[in-house]
Symmetry: C2
């Protein structure tokens, strides 16, 4: 039932907020939670090499099954003995199921009980993905933690649509679990849109099947922040205490703080890496755009409170590099943004230990523009 290679325990619960401090043990590392996982979509966290990924992460990253399945493909990945060996990542890895990309990137698709037929998001070629195939691809990729194949319905889907989709996703979750031949840890994904009864039903049925952890999907897809916070808090009372809870696709600094307060242990998001490539800096003093004229002569580092290999560069220099589209700018900004989220998560864990996470949130909003 329970995967033997992965272990999770809640070490402490913040007396002020109820937030959880946990320990996640994997074959490739032991991690304190709550944790943020940088996204390495195509077998690289964009702009960084493995040593730098190690420096700006806790040692646990995400890769995307859909993208890796298409390029370089399962045969190339297998020839390397898995994605971790291919990219020379000696830390831990989590993969999503490909479901989210099938439903968000491809316009044309047919959903049937067996699986989904859809068009390649670039070439237009017809492709098919099923719960079993998703598991097989994730087995080839070889992450420590993998996901059930799910449908992620559009945010504005009707109650009826959400309900039918959810029931099928539950059957898919069972099929995926039955199909798994490795000892990778498998998480189930809670769906149900913004409907609390559907979310409850989804969580409870997944718990009956039994998974190593529970992901919350279908949030951070365009809904209001209050709705995301409401559904997360709602599931906090339903999901099993002794299993990790992963809020998928969430990673703005404020959502990390709010998510942890609502019981979340794991997060991933492209926001810090993608925004870096657009000049947006996340820092201990808040977010800002390095392109702005006010930084032209600014001799301070990007973040005055985090010492790192990039703190030698002035804002003025990074602004110059960014304006000139130099790749080094994307490297420096990506490094800064991920390092800041690592720093923030460490602060959050410390605040949980000290039972003052609500106080921390207040200071966080006061001291920054998040």
């Amino acid at each position: 039932m329970v995967n033997k290679l992965i272990k999770f325990e809640v070490l402490h619960t913040c007396k002020q907020s109820g937030a959880r401090l946990g320990k996640l043990t994997t074959p490739s590392g032991v991690f304190e939670t709550p944790i943020f996982m940088p996204v390495g979509t195509k077998a690289t966290v964009k702009t960084l090499n493995p040593q730098e990924i190690r420096e700006v992460s806790e040692g646990l990253i995400l890769s995307n099954t859909y993208h890796l399945w298409l390029e370089p493909g399962v045969d190339v990945i297998k020839a390397h003995g898995g994605v971790k060996k291919m990219m020379h990542w000696d830390g831990a890895m989590l993969t999503d199921s490909g479901g989210f990309q099938v439903f968000s990137l491809s316009g044309l698709r047919t959903i049937e009980e067996e699986g989904v037929t859809f068009r390649h998001h670039k070439s237009g070629a017809e492709l098919f993905l099923s719960p079993e195939l998703s598991i097989e691809i994730q087995e080839a990729i070889g992450a420590d933690i993998i996901m059930s194949f799910d449908e992620c319905p559009p945010g504005k889907a009707s109650y009826e649509y959400q309900k039918n989709s959810l029931e099928r996703t539950l059957r898919w979750a069972k099929r995926g679990k039955d199909h798994l031949k490795t000892d990778q840890a498998l998480f189930g994904i809670v769906q149900g849109g913004l409907y609390e009864d559907l979310r409850r039903h989804s969580a409870e049925e997944l718990m009956k099947i039994g998974f190593d952890g529970y992901s919350i999907g279908g949030l951070s897809v365009g809904e209001a922040k209050e709705d995301m916070y409401r559904i997360t808090a709602f599931l906090n009372d339903i999901l099993p205490f002794d299993k990790p809870r992963y809020l998928m696709g969430v990673g703005s600094p404020e959502d990390l703080v709010e998510g942890v307060i609502r019981g979340i242990d794991m997060f991933d998001c492209v926001l810090p890496t993608r925004n870096a490539r657009h000049g947006m800096v996340l820092s201990t003093t808040g977010k800002y755009n390095i392109k702005k004229l006010e930084y032209k002569f600014d001799m301070d580092p990007l973040d005055p409170n985090i010492k790192s290999p990039i703190s030698k560069y002035t804002k003025s220099y990074v602004r110059h590099l960014f304006r000139e589209s130099e790749i080094l700018a994307s490297r420096i900004l990506t490094y800064q943004n991920l390092l800041y989220l690592k720093h923030l998560m460490a602060e959050i864990r410390q605040a949980i230990k000290e039972n003052r996470l609500l106080d921390f949130r207040e200071e966080f909003y006061k001291k920054t523009n998040y």
Copy 2:
């Protein structure tokens, strides 16, 4: 007359080829010559950070006066105390004069005795550059070695044009030298197109003015290889033995070998870095394009004979990164290409020491597709 902070001596002359092994002493490092200098156009060698530049170079890089003058501008550079401090480069640096870019990037220009009026290559704004201003900008940039402001006429320019241009460039060289207020080493630039009498005249007149080194400009601008080799060899007998000779803009592996045989001590070129971003690999086994299907399952490193931090990556993985336009691909390929040229120059220097550079050239052409 002679700059006191820079020193050059010829340590040995290859008995087989006549090629020179030298020692170039600068305030920021001592270098064995012949040497290849990576190009850091806009205060960064594209894709690399200063530590990586150190690893793939001898510690001497080039920066472009024209680009740095326009962005970030002299005021920002001065605020940092020079470009080396701005980019955190603790090695040595050489700057060109901006002349080449004025004549190659800007379509509209008016050349007068005082200087050149031209249009910004992007914005179209009217700009003016003169020998004195070029020196002042280079003083602000703060390289160890700087260049005289020259006109680089188009390769197909007539004898008459070349002659008039050359005389003006000689007057500009004198004005630049007279204007220099720092103790930076100043090189004169030999022009004269493919006309040997003009080249001789240019070299001899520059030698009368007296410079710390002599650059050969106006080659590698589209002429036949034989012409480039012929002019280089011709100047080998004219330029002073005890001063460094710098062949500007040359950097293909075969041109480095051929240039050294014709008496050149210093080279720079964007070829290794630019071609890297187009997937072209320079290696000890020859050049190849990593995009090719034949590398899809290739588990070998990019270069089987050079051990480095990137030799852990397979060709298959780098091909995948390149096809997916991942920045890490450009980083890895840039690193490889520069590291290979560093390796090649070390082999060349060794062959000079052993008086077998012509044998080396034969093996080089036999073992590779250069």
